[in-house]
């Protein structure tokens, strides 16, 4: 493991030790965040999958109804029947915070006073297939809005999870080992310095004693 470019001093080591503690705490917190995000994401994705399958299946049925309606009515009549919609569907946009990810919450608002208003045409000149199609589509609206909400949430959360995972990995596999290696390097360097100064002192002491008492000559 490569070490940082630092001076091997006691002060630097204390500083690095503090940083290591912070990094470890951050790593633990980010890991918890990642796990919780992942749990919520999996739930959301399963919901999304269910909605997607339902919407895909029902929309293809709706399209079939519309095609059938187009077959029995002239396309001009069909288009003009669908043109003047009485209801205007909108969504109320809120937002929800899931582990620091702001995801949108859509709730459908349909402005139609009574149920028959979903058909924007009179029944005299239109095919019953068209009624089926429009009514099926109308029933599907809540699911369509829910699908939009979950799919957008999944998209945002997937990006956040990826970011968090990268942070966790970089802390776990790069930052923390590097701190540890550097601290170890400084500790060894300090010990080494300590030993070398001790041997030097011993040597000097020997030399001074030799000078004072002349041991080697007496033997």
């Amino acid at each position: 493991m490569d070490i940082m470019n630092v001076n091997p001093t006691r002060m630097q080591m204390t500083k690095l030790k503090k940083q290591l503690i912070t990094a470890k705490r951050g790593h633990k917190m980010l890991k918890d965040k990642r796990d919780e995000l992942m749990r919520q994401f999996i739930e959301l994705v399963q919901e999304n999958k269910r909605l997607r399958e339902k919407v895909d299946a029902e929309l293809s049925q709706c399209s079939a109804h519309f095609v059938n309606a187009g077959a029995v009515m002239s396309s001009k009549a069909l288009n003009s029947s669908l043109m003047s919609s009485k209801q205007q569907t909108g969504v109320d946009v809120g937002s929800k915070n899931i582990m620091s990810v702001d995801v949108p919450v859509f709730s459908g608002v349909s402005e139609s006073p009574n149920k028959s208003d979903i058909f924007p045409y009179g029944f005299s000149f239109t095919s019953f297939e068209l009624d089926d199609a429009v009514s099926a589509l109308n029933d599907l609206m809540p699911d369509l809005i829910k699908l939009a909400e979950t799919e957008k949430s999944c998209e945002l959360m997937a990006a956040e999870i990826e970011r968090t995972r990268r942070r966790v990995n970089s802390l776990e596999h790069v930052m923390i080992p590097r701190y540890e290696a550097t601290i170890k390097y400084i500790a060894m360097k300090l010990e080494e310095n300590d030993r070398s100064s001790r041997t030097r002192l011993m040597k000097v002491k020997d030399m001074l004693l030799e000078k004072a008492h002349h041991y080697s000559e007496k033997q």
Partner: protein, 107 residues
């Protein structure tokens, strides 16, 4: 705050959605769709923009600008030409991005 719902696609696929109160943007020529999407998404008037699959694929570059934003949510829907499975692929790409491998659709 109430916002509207838009749908972009070929006239054949999306005309039914007008009846349920969405705003239709007919685009019979997929290569011109990024320009249209830009116009629609710019003024923040629409919270959800549905697209048929062809348009969804044709406008992928323009769409990327909105991935980080909470709205508009841009969602692909199958058109009259049938389902190419783009919705499922999109979902599995999210799983892959988050988890690292596709654990949902692999089996």
């Amino acid at each position: 705050m109430a916002k509207s719902i838009a749908i972009i696609g070929d006239s054949e696929s999306i005309k039914g959605f007008g009846a349920v109160g969405m705003d239709l943007f007919i685009c019979d020529d997929p290569p011109s769709s990024p320009q249209l999407l830009k116009q629609i998404a710019e003024n923040d008037y629409y919270a959800i923009i549905y697209m048929t699959e062809e348009i969804f694929e044709a406008s992928s570059k323009e769409r990327e600008k909105y991935t980080e934003r909470a709205i508009p949510a841009i969602i692909p829907l199958p058109g009259v030409r049938g389902n190419t499975g783009i919705g499922q692929r999109r979902l599995s790409s999210f799983v892959e991005q988050a988890v690292g491998s596709d654990i949902l659709f692999k089996n």
